[in-house]
Symmetry: C2
Subunit: 200 residues, 2 copies
């Protein structure tokens, strides 16, 4: 690839983000993105599966990092604690891309179709989180259920992080606050039933 001109992929990403900010996601066409990046529309689709995918590049990394962090928690750690601690491992991820993450969050918040794609990303994270928990010996449906709660806390915590004024607290703290809220308010009430119990 010769000398280092930014590379089509990077230029496409920056062009798309700028245009989504300027005209909104629905207001920009893939042709415009390609033009600003100095390539053809066809090349856009060679690098990104669709118009939304531009903003979901690092999500596989994010997912992998989370799963590894859960898998490597000290044995014996309670599931929800393992999940809560794992989010500390994601601080670095968002700290490195702080500026991008915030621009991206604003664009996604303004476009329903991007929010929908974000839900898919969260569902994917939830699935690999559940798999990591099963790897720790947690059975179903507990693994899936703890994963749901964990990803839910991540979503709520991330929103709080984005909305927070500078200096922003660590993302992991925002997430932990959501998890603590569940512990404080969610669980009181009826005693836990062991086993399935009779239905009807």
């Amino acid at each position: 690839m010769g000398r280092w001109e930014p590379g089509a992929r990077g230029r496409l990403l920056e062009a798309a983000l700028e245009l989504y900010e300027e005209r909104g996601f629905e207001g920009t066409t893939t042709a415009e993105i390609a033009e600003r990046a100095g390539v053809t529309e066809r090349t856009f689709f060679r690098h990104f599966a669709d118009k939304r995918e531009v903003l979901f590049d690092g999500s596989a990394d994010l997912e992998g990092t989370l799963a590894e962090a859960v898998a490597s928690a000290p044995p014996g750690t309670a599931p929800l604690d393992a999940v809560g601690d794992a989010f500390a491992a994601l601080d670095a991820f968002f700290e490195e891309r702080r500026a991008f993450s915030l621009r991206r969050a604003a664009v996604v918040a303004a476009a329903p179709r991007l929010q929908e794609r974000e839900l898919l990303k969260l569902a994917s994270m939830r699935d690999s989180l559940a798999a990591a928990l099963r790897g720790r010996g947690l059975a179903e449906p507990a693994a899936s259920m703890v994963a749901e709660a964990g990803i839910g806390a991540f979503r709520i915590g991330f929103e709080a992080w984005v909305a927070a004024a500078e200096p922003r607290p660590p993302l992991a703290d925002c997430v932990r606050q959501a998890l603590d809220a569940l512990r404080e308010h969610g669980l009181s009430g009826r005693p836990v039933r062991i086993g399935t119990g009779p239905h009807g």
Copy 2:
């Protein structure tokens, strides 16, 4: 509207469901759906916002029913219990549409784009559930967090319900099993911290 011929909307819905079953969601075009229903493609889009929306007709009802059930729980009920009990109110909903619900679930399970739309429906239910919990006096982020857990349990429970052999247990039982799993496995570990606590 004259005498009772099934009505374009109903014919479109049945035509779409049949075709999605026969050829898969991606394998059928809106033109084919319209043709089978005996109307033009344009009419399809007058009744449904897009190709996926056909299968998400009753979701507003579902959401409303859930929110009402939570709102009308006896005062003093623990949040997660109020949510668990509310799902009993949805039994009637799925019992009335049992056949449709199962056909629909199979089609959705086979089509990624429909699963994505399903996530949007769940997110919408989650938001109105959180609103109902705030209406009961629960503060943020607890309301959102309990709503996440509740909808997560609904998703897991619904999948179990669909996968179950006849005679199917009540849906509410499947959901409750997921909630109980969270209570049993999720919460042990560190004591609950009150307030944000120091970070670092």
